[in-house]
Symmetry: C2
Subunit: 599 residues, 2 copies
């Protein structure tokens, strides 16, 4: 079911019920872009990764949100689904609402339009939204306006008068006469004066308030025209005032729009399943809850507090249980694999045909469809785990112990030997066979390969034009490299080799990190916000570090267009992880070389 | 005529002829946004104005370009027109082409979609482009690749070998056997090997080049598959090589795309007419020629060099000749006015009905249509000037002395007392009755008005939460303000008044201005580039100063959604300008106050 501003209000009520009765939900999103600025690289720590995503992705827009609600029907022992495909666009729906500036990436737009994304529908019918900070600012502004309005009623605050220019005297007098007639003749509820420019309107206000009492009428501007309204009895006036206030409050509540879906989701505490969902979660927090915190640990806590149970099927597919069976974790490839033995595709009928998809539809990259197949993939993977358990478990429900080990662990794109653990410390990784190399700008892969040729096969991860990580295939050569290249006073002119740890420590101590590590708002705030208590608008704004939109990444980098590029990954036992890591790096590096040497 | 990537090549040839035979052209553009960061204000100098536009508008995208070519038909004594409506979008059309990140402003997108802009057509069929810097970078990359390819043919540069992992030995051997069979069996021109991942392809390349000579075959990758091609005689090989190089060169030339239209326009030296065209010209230079220079004087020279004859109908309407007759210079209002006496709407038939518009169409804000009516407006205004000349002139051609005084002067939105003169110094303006005021954050208009109440009516231009310009209505009070407020040691706690000149001088000397005034590339470069000599790609990149997309402008600012808001402006005699200036400021300030006090 496509959800736009036209059917949003109706949908919201039924969605609330759906969520309450859900067994789990799955999500997916489409964005206007994926990255700018510094690229992530396979040897980033989760902390570094988060910082890069935060500064390099948060100004893109989430434009489509897919939400599939899965229920388990005990009587027929089957799951059913109901899928929502929300078009989301922050058009300023109310005066004073933020006029959002956002970034688009040409290749992402190209990718979406080629996958039939309807941008006209998005911009015309997209559901608006405000995050909690913006909502609070709007409410503060409204209160401020009400305060000012009540103050300007007191005579001491009357504004200094402006002399009416000769050419406008007749217009002003005519307007005042009209108002006077209107007050005498009690038949009309209000009258609208002729339209005129802002200066003349200002003069009409000024002169009218000299002649008439604020107890007998109100003046307001609608579409460049002043409207005079009779004030009734004190009771009528009070009711009018109250109605106006109610309407203004409702308008802000309506402007909160799509954020309400995310609030419902957060309140439900149901399991949220996504495929490669880290970026989705970042955008969801940032756009619909509150700006992403600067510190990684605050982010983890905030995310965990708002969504205490998430499961990433891409990470699940990369686990030792599935790694051999599912060589590619791209969602469409996963779907092909789970259609074959030893898997069994779990068939999930729609609860209502208007809200349903089926797995044979050609709707890839529609967020609602991708959310639905993510849910199906999760159930099929879980079903497989149940089938190999002793005793067998069927069905495997989301609260089954079988899937608990995958919960709250997030896959990090390109990062091959670790993941993000939302429920504790991220896993430690050993990188003693990785070296950081600085070299002259002219160097190509071959030069690095020659330098390291005595130490076996290597895997190069380019960082910039003049630096790279070099990973030794064999740990046996670590000592020799340390002795011959790291400790050597001078390897070659312009060439420097240091250990991965030394590099990392030097980065952590650099001033830029001091800036990044300055105190950020307490996690208490996230907890408080989860209960949707609006925050003070004076809270320090989070700022984007400097960036240049025209800056392209290192010429050594291959930027990938699709959302999900294929890399080989793993999680679990350290040894297993390390082997995969090496293969992964090797493939990434060599794919790179293919492009570079143009073969 | 809508022009997209599908008919662009055909159109380009006829456009070249059209431009050569044109009497003048008119242009208009649509953008993804108008401003972010620091707002322009009515007391900005053209220099300050340019700097703000450069940093706050250049990352938006020009997405539709309207070009109407007007010809004068001597035999029937009438003008005809031919209008082109180009959809322009920088999708990366070639590998290695920049993957552009650009900014959108939600209100601008909302405005366009409500005016029937077709974003799906834009993203799917938009014409790509490269500016001269990017084109040169692409050509440099190509040359670098060719150089590397020729180097890797020499045995000294053979790459260090990677040991083939056990699991891939069979695949590699099979591939080599296939190539061997292909070389023996002379019937096929080429063979395609099975698709495989990048690592395996890399190994196939490595092992194949150990077995076969580069003189007998070529290997290349197409869609994850290696294609082996037989190399013929040396002559055939040379031809193959040449064809490949020609194709690669053509691909880059094609990727230059829409920029070719702008190059043609620049080469034609015809008069270019626009309505409020400053922003259009900035975007045209920046996206299709070369990045906007940092220095204002370089910008003026560059613009003048590339487009030596431009005319802004908004400035023309604001001139003393038209000011009284055309009270609003918004394009649609101008069109209404010139339909009535004393004007006579000049009827301009289409040269070809496929390329034509008429003035009664409901196509406002389609760039092609707006360009067309701008041209009609220009002719009608010029016709009026001819009709009041002695002796009368009819028709008034673009080279007539009657319109010369309007050429190369650009209207600056919001700036009320000056304009940009591309052919010399900008006009001097006297602002001795303007004061810069710093005040506490709590202050509202009324506080400022009270402070200045002894000095007659004032006009306030808000700068930030705590600063504003105050313009005295009467110059008679300048001395009193200088004595009582400027020279006074302490006016009030937290309040400071300085003259406009003192404020301006302090700004000019501030470090930020030192940065902005650092030397930028010589204007010689623009001249050189006009002849389309590609530039070295090592040229310093212009950088966007830091900005935060979430930063909203001062709460005192009213940001306007449409491209063209109505302000009153003037150019010409200083006295006349000054009077208009005061009225203008007054209107702007009071319009602001309406919003602020919410009446």
């Amino acid at each position: 079911m496509d959800v736009t501003c036209y059917n949003f209000k109706d949908i919201l009520t039924e969605l609330e019920t759906d969520l309450k009765n859900s067994s789990f939900v799955s999500i997916d999103s489409e964005f206007t872009g994926l990255n700018y600025g510094e690229s992530t690289n396979p040897l980033d720590s989760p902390d570094e990764y988060y910082t890069k995503i935060r500064t390099g992705a948060q100004d893109f827009l989430l434009i489509q949100f897919g939400l599939a609600v899965f229920k388990y029907n005990e009587s027929i022992k089957k799951f059913t689904h109901k899928a929502y495909n929300f078009y989301v666009f922050p058009k300023p729906s109310l005066r004073g609402a933020p006029d959002c500036r956002f970034i688009c990436q040409a290749s992402s737009i190209d990718f979406l339009i080629k996958n039939n994304f309807n941008f006209n529908k998005l911009f015309l019918e997209g559901i608006p939204y405000l995050n909690q900070n913006d909502e609070q600012k709007m409410r503060d502004k409204l209160n401020e306006k009400r305060m000012r309005n009540s103050l300007t009623r007191t005579p001491t605050c009357e504004m200094a008068s402006i002399a009416v220019p000769e050419e406008h005297v007749k217009t002003i007098n005519d307007a005042c006469e009209k108002i006077s007639d209107f007050l005498k003749n009690k038949t009309l509820e209000e009258i609208t004066l002729d339209s005129c420019n802002g200066f003349v309107r200002k003069l009409i206000y000024q002169e009218a308030w000299k002649k008439f009492s604020r107890d007998e009428l109100t003046l307001e501007t609608r579409q460049y025209q002043i409207v005079a309204k009779r004030l009734g009895t004190p009771e009528e006036r009070e009711k009018l005032e109250k109605d106006k206030m109610d309407q203004e409050n409702t308008e802000i509540t309506d402007a909160v729009g799509f954020s309400k879906v995310i609030r419902l989701l957060s309140e439900t505490d149901t399991l949220i399943v996504g495929h490669n969902m880290f970026l989705d979660l970042c955008h969801i927090l940032h756009r619909f809850c509150m700006p992403l915190p600067e510190k990684y640990k605050d982010f983890k806590q905030m995310l965990h507090c708002l969504f205490p149970k998430v499961l990433d099927t891409k990470l699940m597919c990369s686990s030792p249980e599935f790694k051999e069976l599912i060589p590619s974790t791209v969602l469409s490839h996963v779907m092909s694999k789970i259609n074959e033995a030893p898997f069994q595709l779990v068939n999930v009928e729609p609860e209502d045909s208007n809200y349903g998809y089926n797995t044979s539809e050609e709707k890839a990259h529609e967020a609602g469809y991708d959310a639905y197949i993510t849910g199906v993939a999760f159930l099929s993977l879980a079903h497989y785990l149940g089938s190999i358990s002793t005793p067998k478990v069927n069905p495997v429900l989301p609260n089954s112990p079988i899937v608990q080990k995958y919960i709250n662990k997030l896959y990090l794109m390109k990062i091959l030997d670790t993941y993000m653990n939302l429920n504790g410390n991220d896993p430690a990784v050993k990188r003693d066979n990785v070296f950081h190399l600085t070299f002259p700008k002219e160097w190509v892969y071959q030069d690095i390969n020659t330098l390291f040729s005595p130490y076996g096969n290597i895997y190069v991860t380019w960082l910039t034009d003049t630096s790279a990580f070099v990973t030794l295939s064999s740990r046996d050569n670590v000592l020799a490299v340390t002795r011959n290249l790291v400790r050597a006073k001078k390897v070659k002119h312009g060439v420097k080799v240091i250990t991965f740890n030394a590099y990392h420590n030097s980065r952590t101590k650099s001033p830029i990190n001091d800036v990044l590590n300055k105190p950020s708002p307490s996690i208490q705030e996230a907890k408080k916000r989860k209960s949707h208590e609006p925050q003070s608008s004076t809270q320090k704004k989070s700022r984007v570090p400097n960036f240049d939109l025209r800056e392209t990444s290192s010429p050594h980098n291959i930027s990938s267009i699709p959302e999900e590029t294929e890399t080989v990954s793993d999680f679990g036992g350290l040894l297993y992880a390390f082997t995969s890591f090496l293969i992964g790096i090797m493939i990434v590096t060599l794919i790179y070389k293919f492009y570079r040497i143009g073969c």
